[in-house]
Symmetry: C2
Subunit: 193 residues, 2 copies
């Protein structure tokens, strides 16, 4: 395997630092220090902190796509189980990091969406993309007769994504999986029943 | 009415600036500039930015208590209508500010809960307090026969608060009330039906 470039180190370590400390809370100094590269390296590779932020979002998004392939897009599972597996994978991931950091997309929305229209628009695109994947599962569940035809895939998918974001946020405050477990329980016992 | 003190100006304008730009994104310089007071005034009144953050949270909390008195605690309304009125008031408030800022509690959770245990603990207390008010409404609705006795007030209240936080967060990304309207619709059509 080739040695990671300074650019790659800044992105990988930068993602970790931004996820832990927030986008405004992580200075360029913090980021280059974590990456173990000279300070000038940052400006060599990124025209602005906003440009860096967009690439960090992209890296996190690509990792999420791998998760989506194994869950929401996994046709070996029945459609509603794909959604369940996706929530379970999110739970695992959050637990691994001690429930301290939450979801980078949610954090960026809370913090950075007011500072940069480019970042906000990218977040909206990402949320739309995830909503579409969930809606596809719901529509497949309707086709399979696992949900009544009255279920509006787009509407319920948007609700699932936003409620999951809220549960992750509350879980971050409480350092607990209770909000996520409660969300999953109520989702499958009432809305997707 | 007495003239507001520098301390009051820092808190009132500081709340506005922190709500718009985030806690890390709003520097002490930004805050004193918005308050129109000398820079030294900040350190005269607050031992740290964390101490200031806690007081800003408190001010926002007190404004929220007024909203709670008119809605969640308003015994002139049937219990489920109290919850509905509370969500509607949140929607109004968010719309007034152009759906740009979201909820200060959610923003602080996303951003500042990792930096300060004191702030995180205060956020948990506040969320617990709001959950308790919602749970009281749900239990009253069960007593009145508006909800089945199987409804677990605490569990559903936690779910309502976390899903509302998520809907506000998504609404901030999209600058739209759609996530909040969808949340309310699904809440009252399925979970609280």
């Amino acid at each position: 395997m080739p040695k990671p470039s300074n650019r790659e180190k800044i992105l990988t370590e930068g993602l970790r630092v931004v996820h832990e400390r927030g986008f405004a809370g992580a200075s360029v100094r913090d980021i280059v220090k974590a990456a173990g590269v000279p300070q000038g390296s940052f400006t060599n590779h990124f025209v602005s902190k906003e440009a860096f932020g967009l690439e960090v979002l992209q890296l996190y998004y690509e990792r999420g796509q791998e998760k989506a392939r194994q869950t929401l897009l996994n046709e070996a599972l029945p459609p509603l189980r794909r959604i369940e597996a996706w929530i379970d994978r999110s739970r695992e991931k959050l637990t691994e990091e001690g429930l301290r950091s939450g979801c980078l997309f949610g954090n960026f929305t809370a913090e950075a969406s007011e500072h940069s229209e480019t970042i906000r628009n990218r977040l909206v695109e990402i949320f739309d993309e995830i909503t579409r994947l969930i809606a596809d599962c719901l529509r497949a569940a309707v086709r399979d007769g696992d949900l009544p035809p009255s279920v509006d895939g787009e509407e319920v998918a948007g609700f699932i994504l936003s409620s999951l974001q809220g549960a992750i946020l509350m879980g971050k405050a409480q350092r607990s999986t209770v909000p996520l477990d409660r969300f999953k329980h109520i989702l499958f016992e009432t809305i997707l029943r």
